[in-house]
């Protein structure tokens, strides 16, 4: 059954992709470091502390997460992934976006050719409902449909 959640648009746009769900804070540097260093085309998550998505491909997915955590290099990591064309299809935050992720997705949007819609404040219920592999559709107005 499809369910719709209303969030706030951080980077506008539309996308549809399979969900990859991290219930824990997403450590941006730890998740991307090895994939960027070794040119991994699937961009598999390298954060061994994240049991939900460790070793799961992050390219082309709807990354569903509460917030990002970790090093303040996080923003430049998203920017780099954007410049290399290795960002997820979209990002859906259950909580208000944190300053490091916001910086990163805005840097990628303004300075690279990538386009990754980002929605935040979808609520805890969103993260409880969505499962890895479900189809996530993001609309311009911040509506996110999960089915």
């Amino acid at each position: 059954m499809a369910r719709t959640f209303q969030g706030r648009t951080v980077v506008p746009g539309r996308a549809q992709a399979p969900a990859l769900v991290s219930h824990e804070g997403f450590n941006t540097l730890a998740s991307y470091q090895m994939a960027l260093m070794f040119g991994d085309k699937k961009v598999k998550c390298g954060d061994q502390n994240n049991r939900d998505i460790y070793k799961q491909p992050m390219f082309g997915v709807a990354l569903c997460l509460p917030q990002t955590i970790g090093s303040t290099t996080g923003g430049m990591v998203f920017y780099t992934a954007g410049a290399m064309g290795k960002l997820p299809a979209c990002m859906c935050f259950s909580k208000p976006i944190d300053s490091l992720a916001a910086a990163g997705v805005i840097l990628a949007d303004v300075w690279t050719d990538s386009h990754m819609p980002v929605v935040d404040s979808l609520g805890d219920e969103f993260l409880e409902y969505v499962r890895t592999g479900m189809t996530v559709t993001v609309s311009e107005d911040g509506t996110v449909t999960v089915e």
């Binding site: 470091q33 090093s71 303040t72």
Partner: protein, 425 residues
């Protein structure tokens, strides 16, 4: 967002396309957090978290080339985080090859960019830019464009400056245009505490363990800490400042704390007292049992948990002069008690280049080197963040290093016992 005519002119491209995009980035960043204005950066110097020319981040240096090639004016000089490489630090041939020929291939290019963008000096690579010997010490109330999480925490909490937990690149952008969006920790309301932490331990809590506990509990919120003055006193002397440096680094990395207040000690807590606490603040009690619980929750990331340590890092964040002297005396005493001359594990102490120079001129330098300890200016995180170092059993007293790498955390006392041979790992 309401911009001043000058800010609007930059955004409209009157100074060129690249400064306009820099301003657009900062405006979008601020609007995401409800900022209504951009405020001038008033601190004398900036500080950037990016100090490494890592090959995987090549697009970042390409971006900086775009700023430089466009003739972008960098309004504020800045210091930077520690360098990633130092030949004094033990490494094997394979590590040397990987570090220099692969991982940090962009290092020379990036250091050249830093000089051209306004890096103050080749001596100013440190996470603790606020040390007297480095001199990037903001005044109370200064607005900053910094990103290094431990330095942001120290500047906000101990010095009373105002800075958000920015990302790398954003820090340089703010220094370049001289404005940052006004939200969060730049506002009076954003600096009020939504947590009260009651410290009820029976002994002085380990700074990096207490910081870890507080960070994990309050995450990005502002805590008001009671009871710590029992152990630190009410004067921000060298001992208290070093403690808060380590506490803040742990709280910032184990959580996302950018500002904390310590009752009767930190400047805003002294001035405003409990007026800083929000009416619905939650309470977190930290006693000996809670610290034990937090400590026991740390996963051991070593492949063989019983391995003998191959390396020890002390100095994340960088050590103060007083900490270097204190460790020297304790190591000498410990080694004397066990009848040894040298530490039992290859050990690296890290500090700012300017502190290193001053330390090397004083009496403790020779004494510390006699114990076998290696002094360096590097960032231990940079050394550890690669597949080769990840496999090494490394010990540390740094909760930040533990969080981001496979290094294993021990308290200062435990590290001392291991290094002096009083206790096998």
């Amino acid at each position: 967002m309401k911009l001043t005519p000058e800010q609007q002119a930059i955004l409209d491209g009157e100074r060129g396309e690249v400064p306009a995009k820099v301003m657009k980035t900062l405006v979008m960043y601020g609007e995401t957090f409800g900022a209504e204005t951009m405020v001038p950066v008033t601190g004398r110097l900036g500080h950037t978290v990016i100090s490494f020319g890592i090959n995987a981040m090549k697009p970042v240096y390409d971006l900086y080339d775009r700023l430089l090639e466009a003739g972008m004016e960098f309004r504020q000089p800045f210091t930077a985080d520690p360098l990633p490489l130092d030949r004094n630090v033990p490494s094997n041939l394979l590590q040397d090859l990987v570090f220099r020929q692969f991982m940090y291939k962009q290092q020379g290019r990036y250091e050249d960019q830093l000089r051209r963008m306004g890096m103050t000096s080749d001596r100013d690579f440190t996470c603790a830019c606020y040390f007297d010997q480095v001199g990037n010490i903001p005044e109370k109330g200064d607005v900053l464009s910094w990103a290094e999480s431990s330095a942001v925490s120290y500047a906000n909490s101990v010095l009373g400056a105002r800075c958000n937990r920015n990302s790398g690149i954003i820090d340089v952008f703010g220094s370049a245009v001289g404005y940052v969006p006004c939200f969060g920790l730049l506002t009076d309301e954003g600096r009020r505490a939504s947590w009260v932490v009651e410290v009820r331990t029976t002994r002085r809590p380990e700074a990096q363990l207490l910081g870890s506990a507080v960070g994990m509990k309050v995450m990005e919120d502002v805590p008001y800490i009671r009871g710590l003055d029992t152990w630190l006193g009410t004067e921000l002397n060298a001992d208290a400042r070093a403690y808060l440096k380590d506490f803040g680094a742990a709280a910032a990395s184990n959580g996302a704390v950018g500002l904390y207040h310590v009752e009767h000690l930190t400047p805003e807590a002294v001035e405003q007292g409990e007026g800083l606490i929000l009416p619905d603040a939650q309470v977190y009690v930290v006693d000996d049992a809670e610290l034990d619980r937090v400590r026991a929750s740390y996963p051991v990331m070593w492949k063989d948990p019983d391995a003998e340590p191959k390396l020890c890092f002390i100095g994340c964040p960088h050590l103060t002069m007083e900490q270097l002297a204190d460790w020297t005396k304790k190591l000498e005493q410990g080694l004397k008690e066990t009848g040894r001359e040298k530490v039992t594990v290859p050990t690296v102490f890290t500090t700012a280049p300017a502190v290193l120079e001053e330390f090397n001129r004083g009496p403790y330098s020779v004494r510390l080197r006699k114990t076998g300890v290696i002094l360096s200016y590097i960032c231990p995180l940079m050394y550890m963040n690669n597949p080769l170092s990840k496999k090494m059993p490394v010990i540390t007293n740094s909760n930040k290093l533990r969080t981001y790498t496979s290094a294993r955390y021990y308290t200062d006392g435990e590290v001392l016992d291991i290094l002096t041979g009083k206790e096998a790992k």
